[in-house]
């Protein structure tokens, strides 16, 4: 049960939160102050972690879904002895500090996932819980509970209003993830004021509808015993995730407690003085941690270290008894793929049968699924269309459903693209898996909020994005991406791949699977593609290459994916007219951009016009080409051959355009320099 000391610790957190945001004159004091009791009880009694080694694989995970409350998280990390000093707290929200405005994975020791964009964190927590369940089911043995960690997530009203959260909560209920405890900071306040103005649903009932175990604490400000009791109860739930609604007062202790004014603005000087007085702190002092509070936290730290030691002992015994499993765990934790895995990648000759690249992707999955057991696939209810399920896959499902098991590696995400994206981020964050899931390319857009965080967090998440263009045909413009490639190519640290055939599909997978710090989107066709002369895995991994070379060319065509073979046909027609042309395949802009300048200039040289050809908007092609052939409108509903004709994406249309380009620039007063060379010229 809680004591007077616990109240002191809680007050310490509250005054620190006020000091930190006051010092930086920026940030959100309200939620940290309101959540101080939750945080203290969690770390003093529940969360098993080793602050001296934040990578302990079986640590409990903590996610602050309302990331704007990160002053709280930084305070806790500091008190517990993670690599975060009091000076770091004092440089909250300043340039290059370890305490940025929202928690960033990879930037601050002890931060499990990057949060702030509302709703993402709780969905990440669902992913962490899925990964934990899968790890336990895959590796635990009788008497060896190597993986049994809990996932704790704090979230606020804002998260609960977001659709991405709703998707993840519903799936978590379906999957019966009893290793997940979500703590809802029910403070009744959002930026616009009282939640009465926009959020009057019955949250507990909604969560019960999702088949969650729902508990509550009616006084989360002072009733620490109730917090302890409820968190203990949560851990005993056998077949459901638990949501604890904790009624708190935002900015508890401030003169403005319970109002929106303490949400996003630091407390005024006077207010901090009265607050410290009320909590028995010296109002003249700032950033104070009473000695006994720090000693207690040192104790929690040491207790965590001891738990980690015990786990290491257990794991050491496990390694002896189950060397293969342990070797696999070690390899996966080190993010190393199995030696020689890439030899399994299918390769193709031009005489091989043409196939849709979604089927070529399936062939890759079938070839590597056993080889790379960390691959955790799935689809947002488009399994048969995305071809994301390898032939011997088992579904990840609660065993009681008889639809699969927790050691299954295929997740039925339902029609929940955004939730899927954020859950994949959580799965990656656990550290043992490579999440890779399917939807139509057009609906990756639904999830872009999560995709962006994959890229920012440097998370290896692979999207199998089929039906990648007007080539999906009959479904029409509502389902035909024309702008999605540009959107994804413009995102830092994301590889957007559009392979042209079997070898390029294998090459795209090779880079995607070997890129531990970069997410990838593989854009794949619904329609069949021929196997091309000149393609290879070796070429593909450079991002762009000359597929058809001609030293005397008067034009270069540069294209991607399903338009490459059409361009190859166009080159034949040009040849008949005596026009010499080159063809460049450019499956991934970003990977091409990383090649040496000399190589890039060889692929896209100066001296003749470069024409880009792609069944997408031409936006963004200016970096490689002078003239563009694309689709700067939305698509159309019809069999795909008709749609390609409508948008002039046939060999005849392209060769005719190329011929006109050659003609226009033949006697031009404006000699053409490759955009690559313009850039090089300046770089000199």
């Amino acid at each position: 049960m809680a004591s007077e000391f616990d109240n002191k610790a809680v007050s310490t957190i509250r005054t620190l939160a006020a000091d930190i945001t006051h010092q930086s004159n920026s940030g959100h004091p309200g939620a940290p102050m309101g959540l101080a009791p939750v945080a203290h009880i969690l770390w003093s009694r529940f969360i098993r972690c080793d602050p001296k080694d934040s990578h302990w694989p079986n640590r409990d995970r903590f996610v602050l879904s309302n990331g704007h409350a990160c002053a709280l998280q930084y305070i806790m990390l500091h008190l517990l002895g993670y690599k975060l000093s009091m000076d770091d707290l004092k440089s909250f929200r300043t340039l290059d500090s370890l305490t940025p405005g929202h928690p960033e994975f990879g930037h601050t020791d002890g931060i499990e996932v990057t949060t702030g964009p509302l709703g993402q964190g709780i969905a990440n927590a669902v992913g962490l819980a899925i990964a934990g369940k899968n790890a336990a089911a895959t590796f635990n043995k009788p008497d060896f509970e190597i993986f049994n960690n809990m996932v704790y997530c704090v979230l606020g009203d804002g998260c609960l209003q977001e659709g991405v959260c709703a998707e993840a909560l519903s799936l978590a209920g379906h999957l019966r993830l009893n290793n997940l405890v979500a703590i809802y900071d029910d403070n009744g306040i959002t930026i616009d004021g009282d939640t009465a103005c926009s959020f009057t649903e019955d949250v507990e009932m909604r969560l019960r509808a999702y088949r969650w175990n729902v508990l509550h604490v009616l006084d989360g400000n002072t009733d620490l015993d109730s917090l302890v009791k409820t968190l203990e109860e949560a851990k005993t739930c056998k077949d459901m995730p638990t949501m604890i609604r904790v009624k708190t007062t935002i900015g508890y202790g401030s003169e403005n407690q319970g109002t929106a004014s303490v949400h996003g603005s630091p407390l005024k000087e006077d207010d901090i003085i009265q607050l410290k007085k009320a909590f028995g702190f010296n109002p003249d002092e700032t950033f104070v941690v009473p000695k006994d509070v720090q000693e207690a936290y040192d104790g929690y730290r040491d207790k965590g270290g001891k738990l980690h030691s015990e786990w290491k002992d257990l794991y050491s015994k496990y390694s002896k008894k189950y060397p293969d499993e342990a070797a696999q765990i070690d390899r996966r934790l080190a993010h190393k793929l199995p030696e020689g895995w890439e030899k399994k990648l299918p390769t193709y000759k031009p005489s091989d049968k043409g196939m849709a690249s979604r089927k070529l992707s399936e062939a890759v999955l079938n070839a590597i699924a056993d080889e790379i057991p960390e691959l955790l696939s799935g689809s947002a209810d488009l399994t048969g269309s995305n071809n994301t399920r390898w032939s011997n896959a088992v579904d990840f499902q609660p065993p009681e459903t008889r639809l699969g098991n927790y050691d299954g590696r295929y997740i039925r995400y339902g029609v929940r693209e955004h939730g899927m994206g954020a859950i994949m981020n959580g799965i990656h964050a656990y550290g043992l898996h490579i999440p890779s899931s399917g939807t139509f390319l057009n609906f990756v857009s639904y999830a872009i909020g999560a995709v962006r965080l994959s890229a920012l967090s440097k998370f290896q998440v692979i999207w199998i994005a089929t039906h990648d263009s007007i080539g999906l045909g009959e479904d029409g413009p509502t389902h035909q991406p024309v702008e999605t490639a540009a959107a994804l190519r413009s995102l830092p640290n994301l590889d957007f791949w559009r392979p042209a055939d079997g070898n390029e599909t294998s090459g795209a997978y090779k880079v995607a699977l070997e890129s531990y710090t970069t997410p990838s989107v593989l854009a794949l066709t619904r329609q069949n593609l021929p196997q091309l002369e000149g393609s290879s895995i070796e070429n593909t991994v450079k991002g762009g290459y000359a597929m058809i070379e001609d030293k005397e060319a008067t034009i270069t065509l540069v294209s991607t994916g399903s338009e490459v073979h059409i361009c190859a046909e166009a080159l034949k027609l040009l040849k008949e007219q005596g026009i010499k042309a080159r063809l460049v395949s450019m499956p991934c802009f970003r990977v091409f951009d990383l090649q040496p300048l000399e190589y890039r200039l060889k692929v896209l040289p100066s001296g003749h016009p470069i024409l880009s050809v792609e069944a997408y908007t031409t936006f963004g092609w200016g970096k490689y080409a002078h003239v563009h052939h694309g689709i700067n409108t939305f698509g159309a509903s019809a069999p795909y051959e008709d749609v390609y004709r409508k948008f002039k994406m046939t060999p005849e249309d392209i060769s005719s355009k190329a011929a006109r380009v050659v003609d226009a620039f033949k006697n031009s007063k404006t000699p053409l320099v490759s955009p690559i060379e313009v850039e090089a010229e300046f770089a000199k």
Copy 2:
């Protein structure tokens, strides 16, 4: 009560759905067949519409949120006598037909909104219901119920799994929209198979948690009486939207009814034969509408026409008694802004005080809100940050809450960006409003699925997207858009604006408000901007213009928004070094692209290097500039001045880069041609 005839009508719809998808060898027969009873009962007894005039302002709205079931909607439109022939049904999903793969607004008579991307339609329906409530509260008078239409929406399991739907349902419950009836086609099947594999929540309980009136029909296949009774009950609900869960069998009548195989694939020939036999139809005939069924539908059509006539009489009397209100209604229905409204737009001199463009936007809203009563504003819980609420605004709220009224023009959307976007589409679709709402630019991405449909549907929806760059400062990279502009600029038919000062902000609003068929995103700063020499509304409406001209310039800088004034400072530094430079402000790419070539070439001429400067990714700038100064990584958390310094976005950095560019190309072997001229050269 229903009769044997009703069963015959239902069977007619079912066999037509089988024939249509079989003929096109594409499409989704299952949901149309399962939903045939719902559709027949709705149109025979409930939906008030005039098939001969689909624009009747007080018509009941119907939204098919599971848009893949559109064969059903096309059948109903045909039977009712909308402009859709049997031949149109036969050309389902073929090029340029009136019956594309998903329903498209503006393409097919009688389609209220474009659906197919799951979850959008139900959120559109919420928007239609909001618009209807607002129209009624604004214009109805005692004895003159000019606006009292209902909104009916059919949705499936897929829609209910989507987050955008969850957001909209929660808000609809909060807003007590009793003019909305949603019919949930509970057929237990999605593409991946039984909903048991991913969707096991208790939907009725969830809807009750959202404070919806929840009803159900346990046999939606044959119990037509129950459908009638339940729909009647739904209309009597005084203070809640109603959800009717209708248990149906997907592909009812097919040998594969109740399985995923009838979801997205046409029935086989044999199956259609047995189906027709079972329903008492001649299996040798296709596309059959029995005479009595067509006569009945002619009757429903005539009844609807009569209702419309009666409404016209009422409206005519209303126009006499309330000429001002009627004039406003007529003007708004004609999508004409009030004469001279643009004179209200604020203008600024360089000596005027600098302001953040979010505040400049607020000044515009304050100036025009009374002038343009069709403007319906709001924010996704960032009212105080977005500055979207004009000073005398009233909230749109149920009167019982005492927080506002239904004639209020400010919507508290809550933290629901995607729902907000889709709801705005619905509000626009009603025909009487210009929806315009705020969030951070970074979180427009959450809603891109809805933004895309605004652009595709040609819906005037205005996003007030504040905190538009690294200039938001302390919140850090999770909240700083660097790629969002590129993503939005690559979308067909969307105007992405980034005004540089007060005049440009007014100019952006001018174009956005006058563009009835184009959505706009206004990217606005958190930080202050000076009023610039050379800016004007007249210049801004061209999308791009020379702000600082110099005939002897050796370089052009082209920039947008908050970087324009930094470039102007850089020009002064360049001048000190004897380098003559021009400055182009480019607030909207798309509007600039629509200007005559001659003008564009004057703004971005050949002969010297063009350097783009923007605190975003450089992706996409190749169409205007040779060399790019931008941010091709994510941002950083710190006071904004520090972040600008970190990313070299100061006058010193920019002038130094410009000087190096001038130097690099001074004696270059590669004379520089404007990308605009390259394009022009080819166009010749």
